[in-house]
């Protein structure tokens, strides 16, 4: 029988929530890496027992963790227990935490600067990994979206990471951090074209590669952001999240700083589909596992009031690819609720009846086993939830 594993990253550790296909009774494992921020965890589609985790700390920096047994045990990919701790040349291993921007002659370009909040130029400084996206076909290959915005890739299971430096050539000097930092937070792999990927950066916008990450182009035409000097600039838009459905990967859905947007041509142009939403500000957006036109968002009151309007936690669902939205409230608090749902904290499973999951800054992880019609909390009192991913295990 199929079962479900929910990977939850929080401010103070990681938790793994497991259930059978009924998704009624849950087992909770954790905290793993207690006391550390776990920005993101994601399992490999090619080997579900392979899970990668981004463990970070303002004090001690970036750690990459890997599990090869579905989250029971973990190790840093460069330092598995029992392995020789030095290279043949005598240098210590432990390279898996090393994210160094590419300044090599081979890629031919020096490290540039980006815009700072005050419009001056500022050097790139690595801070943390926001998002890990394992390859769809190779468990050893993973993409990492980092702050300051860049994309790294490993092909050896996380032991070493190399930057895909071409991304920063896509007008990187004009990128500016959002209030939460200049993080590359979204990585979407086109399941029909291994050379095509989409990424999004706060507050630079969305970008696409069609050559496996060598070169990138901004895909922000149609976005309008009244809070930047040129509301229709090529880059500079605060994209919060993008989602696609594997059966129609050229159709993209975007939750922007304000506005819910849609593209039908792989990001070449966008149009607004906010429709009847009570507010079009929010962070996550996701697509139903079996219905490419069914989209979910969680409206948040405003850019300064990061909580649901009227204190009512409502997921909104569109079955028409946007514009027409219905509030999903059954089982969610409808008064005095002032949590936020962060951009990487919503996911769907691929059970026959699609399950939807999201985590809140108040520590609840809500699940719906019926496409959003009804909800219940799997857990209520975790640390603030930073990310939620789901694995459907056959």
């Amino acid at each position: 029988m199929s079962c479900v594993r929910v990977l939850v990253g929080t401010r103070k550790g990681a938790f793994i929530l497991s259930s059978d296909g009924s998704r009624r009774k849950w087992e909770v494992s954790g905290p793993h890496f207690a006391g550390w921020e776990i920005f993101h965890m994601k399992g490999s589609a090619a080997d579900p027992n392979r899970i990668y985790a981004s463990q970070t700390s303002g004090w001690f920096g970036q750690i990459i963790q890997r599990s090869d047994d579905g989250g029971k045990t973990w190790h840093q990919p460069g330092t598995p227990a029992g392995q020789e701790l030095k290279s043949p040349e005598g240098f210590p291993l432990g390279e898996s935490n090393k994210f160094v921007y590419d300044t090599s002659d081979a890629t031919g370009r020096p490290l540039t600067t980006h815009q700072w909040y005050d419009g001056t130029q500022h050097p790139w400084e690595f801070k943390r990994v926001w998002h890990l996206e394992p390859s769809l076909s190779d468990p050893q290959t993973v993409y990492a979206g980092v702050e300051d915005a860049a994309m790294f890739k490993t092909t050896d299971g996380g032991r070493t990471w190399n930057e895909l430096a071409g991304l920063r050539q896509a007008h990187g000097d004009k990128w500016m951090p959002g209030a939460g930092g200049m993080g590359l937070h979204t990585i979407l792999l086109d399941p029909t074209n291994p050379l095509r990927m989409y990424i999004a950066i706060s507050a630079a916008g969305a970008f696409r590669t069609d050559d496996g990450g060598k070169s990138w182009k901004p895909i922000n035409k149609g976005l309008k952001s009244n809070y930047i000097p040129n509301p229709e600039a090529e880059v500079g838009h605060c994209v919060h999240r993008i989602a696609l459905h594997r059966d129609k990967p050229q159709v993209l859905y975007m939750q922007k700083h304000w506005d819910v947007m849609r593209s039908d041509n792989a990001g070449e142009s966008w149009y607004e589909v906010s429709g009847n939403l009570p507010t079009d500000f929010g962070f996550p957006i996701d697509v139903h596992a079996h219905e490419p036109q069914t989209v979910y968002v969680v409206p948040i009151k405003s850019d300064s009031e990061h909580y649901p309007p009227e204190g009512k936690l409502r997921v909104y669902r569109s079955r028409t690819g946007g514009n027409e939205w219905e509030a999903l409230t059954n089982g969610l608090p409808q008064k005095d609720c002032y949590v936020n749902i962060l951009r990487d904290a919503m996911a769907v499973d691929s059970m026959d009846e699609c399950g939807i999951y999201f985590g809140t800054t108040g520590g609840q992880v809500y699940a719906s086993a019926d496409s959003g019609d009804s909800w219940s909390a799997i857990v209520r009192d975790l640390p603030a939830v930073l990310s939620v991913e789901v694995q459907t295990l056959k």
């Binding site: 401010r11 890496f33 207690a34 006391g35 550390w36 700390s57 303002g58 004090w59 001690f60 920096g61 970036q62 750690i63 840093q76 460069g78 330092t79 701790l85 030095k86 210590p92 291993l93 432990g94 390279e95 935490n97 090393k98 160094v100």
Partner: protein
């Protein structure tokens, strides 16, 4: 043997107790101690000082004989008490809320 006291998060990362003991050859300095720590516990590379520049991470402090050595040049010889093992070398995470 040199005694090094690690902060809680790094103890769990390296799966060690509060204090570790290390052999350090030559002049005992901050740099030579950190080299020894990272060689013995490679999972700590990058957590105390930057991988490339080897600069101390901003929220990490070094204390020796009840004095703050955080901003001393990394190649400054440390007091004899550290080399003799009568005083430990403290690696401390700066105190902050959260």
């Amino acid at each position: 043997m040199i005694r090094v006291v690690l902060p809680q998060h790094l103890r769990t990362l390296a799966t060690v107790d509060r204090e570790v003991r290390l052999e350090v050859r030559g002049v005992i300095t901050i740099a030579s101690i950190l080299d020894a720590v990272e060689s013995r516990y490679p999972m700590l590379r990058g957590t105390i000082r930057d991988h490339v520049t080897l600069r101390r991470r901003p929220l990490v402090r070094f204390f020796v004989c009840q004095e703050d050595w955080s901003n001393q040049p990394a190649d400054t010889p440390l007091p004899d008490a550290v080399g003799q093992g009568t005083e430990p070398f403290f690696i401390i995470g700066a105190i902050a809320g959260g």
